[in-house]
């Protein structure tokens, strides 16, 4: 076994009666990286986290955390973990500061240490003003931030974040992503689950696509793109119907594949990048006006759809006004 990995999950499986929530998944998390689980609701993300942290018993498989067998020595493994559930589960009546100090005490931190650390985290998470207010008076975004602060107060070796950006406003989500990247830059290894493409694309070093309890692909964003890339696409919008133009254009650009998209939109696909000038000259000679020309880039979303065969609608895109 390679002990350099912080998390090593092998053939992990969870069944509830006849239903298989997690179906024999394996992956590992390297120190210092942000490893993301991207998948639609019900894919098995939370179930996987719960098995790793010791809240759910696996039906099969093994989990090691920093070389420790997490099923045999659960408490020892838990001492290395920071855990942020998919709900902000702190104590409503207690202040932000008291909540943080209490969480620190659960990990055996001494009074002076936990108080100075709590103050530092409130500062770092821009919550210093709200430190003495009760948790129940916090906005959703603030609640989530404090919950994450509580998760890292004891300097965990690995932080588990279950859908940290779900259900909060776009601006808070953006701030959170910055905070998460900041934590990583300060050396925290992070395992994160999300159903937002944006999270995966912007902050994860490596991503696993999880669908119906199975990991269907793992890699960096670039690797995943690479694996799906079918060349470069130039998209043109002209004044003429694309269908009528396609054949003639195809004859002119033999090395490429020309196809009509819908209406007046054409796609030219080629192994290499397509220089604009010859294309424009062609249209100029024909006296056809070109309104738009752009290189289509493969998005992570396209890759996800191609690999999983799932409509991207099942994965949510972050929208203004999502959540409250």
């Amino acid at each position: 076994m390679d002990t350099k990995e912080i998390v090593n999950v092998s053939n992990l499986k969870k069944t509830y009666g006849d239903f298989t929530a997690v179906n024999g998944i394996s992956f590992s998390v390297q120190p210092g990286e942000i490893f993301g689980f991207l998948g639609p609701n019900g894919a098995g993300k939370t179930t996987t986290i719960n098995m790793m942290i010791g809240l759910t018993k696996p039906t099969e498989g093994s989990i090691t955390i920093d070389g420790i067998d997490a099923q045999k020595h659960t408490k020892k493994a838990q001492a290395l973990m920071g855990i942020v559930a998919d709900e902000s589960n702190l104590y409503d009546e207690m202040s932000g500061f008291d909540n943080l100090c209490f969480c620190a005490s659960l990990y055996g931190m001494k009074k002076e240490e936990r108080e100075s650390r709590a103050r530092q985290l409130l500062e770092q998470f821009s919550l210093a003003q709200a430190g003495n207010r009760p948790f129940k008076a916090y906005s959703k975004g603030m609640r989530r931030k404090l919950t994450i602060a509580a998760g890292i107060i004891h300097y965990p070796r690995i932080l588990f974040l279950d859908e940290p950006t779900t259900g909060i406003d776009v601006e808070s989500a953006r701030q959170l992503r910055e905070l998460i990247v900041d934590l990583k830059n300060h050396g925290t290894t992070i395992f994160i689950t999300t159903h937002y493409i944006e999270d995966a694309e912007r902050i994860c070093d490596r991503i696993a696509f999880i669908v119906e309890g199975k990991i269907v692909a793992t890699g960096t964003v670039e690797e995943l793109m690479e694996s799906m890339s079918s060349g470069h696409t130039l998209q043109l919008v002209t004044e003429q119907d694309a269908q009528e133009l396609a054949d003639d254009l195809q004859a002119r650009f033999e090395g490429s594949k020309v196809s009509a998209a819908k209406g007046n939109t054409l796609n030219i696909v080629s192994k290499d990048r397509i220089p604009l000038l010859p294309v424009m000259q062609y249209f100029d000679q024909k006296g056809i006006t070109v309104y738009e020309a752009k290189e289509l880039r493969l998005t992570l979303e396209d890759v996800f759809v191609k690999i999983t065969g799932i409509e991207s609608g099942h994965l949510e895109k972050e929208k203004a006004g999502a959540g409250k």
Binding site: G54, L55, T56, K57, K76, Q78, E93, M94, S105, L106
Partner: protein
């Protein structure tokens, strides 16, 4: 050391958040006071305070403790803050001990209210306080553990409340707090001896009035067995039903 820090802070938090809340303290005091007054009026002032005191103490502790722990744990479970405690690097034994210690201390406090009331009416100089408080402690322990068993089985707060009543009302009538167990019909007497409160009330009676049905050591032994079983049942439920 780190276990102790966690233990102490869980206890302190529960004290602050639950047990020292005015509403809970008031309720804890209200119950024994109103109960005393009812008995007092019913007997048109002719009650033997000393004979009445052990039962009152026992019932006060029973009521203060069973619902307290079951309701607070169910509440924390619903808000999922209890998960934090389960996931902390703290043994389940230490966690449960921290949780029940707060309730037991609350029970000891509530038991003292009737003692204070009684001291206005009669001399309590003949009371064996060591034994009295040992029995109060054991009653608090077993009642708290019944609350714990309820807490690990209930899903909703109202459910915890209902289950607590399901246990404590029969206990109140069967366990010698209102009438001696010896006066119960044979079948009910058997039932009484299946309930921990009977043994606790018995020692408490002896320490205050000098009268008891069983030797105190036998009662202590019985209460220890009840505690072990209830604690084990709670542990088992958490380990196998909550973490499943």
């Amino acid at each position: 050391m780190s276990t102790w820090i966690a233990f102490w802070n869980i206890l302190k938090k529960d004290m602050k958040n639950y047990y020292l809340m005015p509403s809970n303290v008031n309720w804890g005091i209200f119950f024994p006071v109103s109960w005393t007054l009812t008995q007092f009026i019913r007997s048109s002032g002719n009650i033997d305070v000393l004979e009445f005191l052990p039962g009152l103490m026992a019932v006060s502790v029973l009521f203060a403790t069973t619902s307290m722990l079951s309701v607070t744990i169910t509440f924390e479970r619903k808000g999922r803050s209890f998960e934090r405690l389960l996931l902390a690097p703290l043994s389940l034994n230490a966690l449960l001990l921290a949780k029940i210690t707060g309730t037991i201390l609350f029970g000891l406090f509530i038991a003292s209210v009737p003692v204070l009331l009684a001291s206005f009416f009669v001399s309590l100089s003949g009371v064996n306080w060591g034994m009295a408080y040992l029995s109060v402690l054991l009653i608090a322990l077993t009642s708290t553990l019944i609350g714990l068993v309820i807490a690990v089985s209930a899903k909703e707060v109202f459910e915890a409340q209902m289950m607590s009543n399901f246990f404590r009302f029969p206990m109140m009538f069967l366990c010698g707090t209102m009438m001696p167990v010896q006066k119960l019909p044979a079948l009910l007497r058997i039932a009484a001896y299946c309930l921990p409160l009977t043994y606790g009330t018995d020692i408490l009676n002896r320490s205050i009035t000098g009268a008891s049905a069983l030797p105190p050591l036998a009662c202590i032994f019985a209460l220890a067995v009840f505690s072990a079983i209830l604690f084990g049942a709670s542990r088992y439920t958490i380990n196998n039903k909550w973490i499943s």
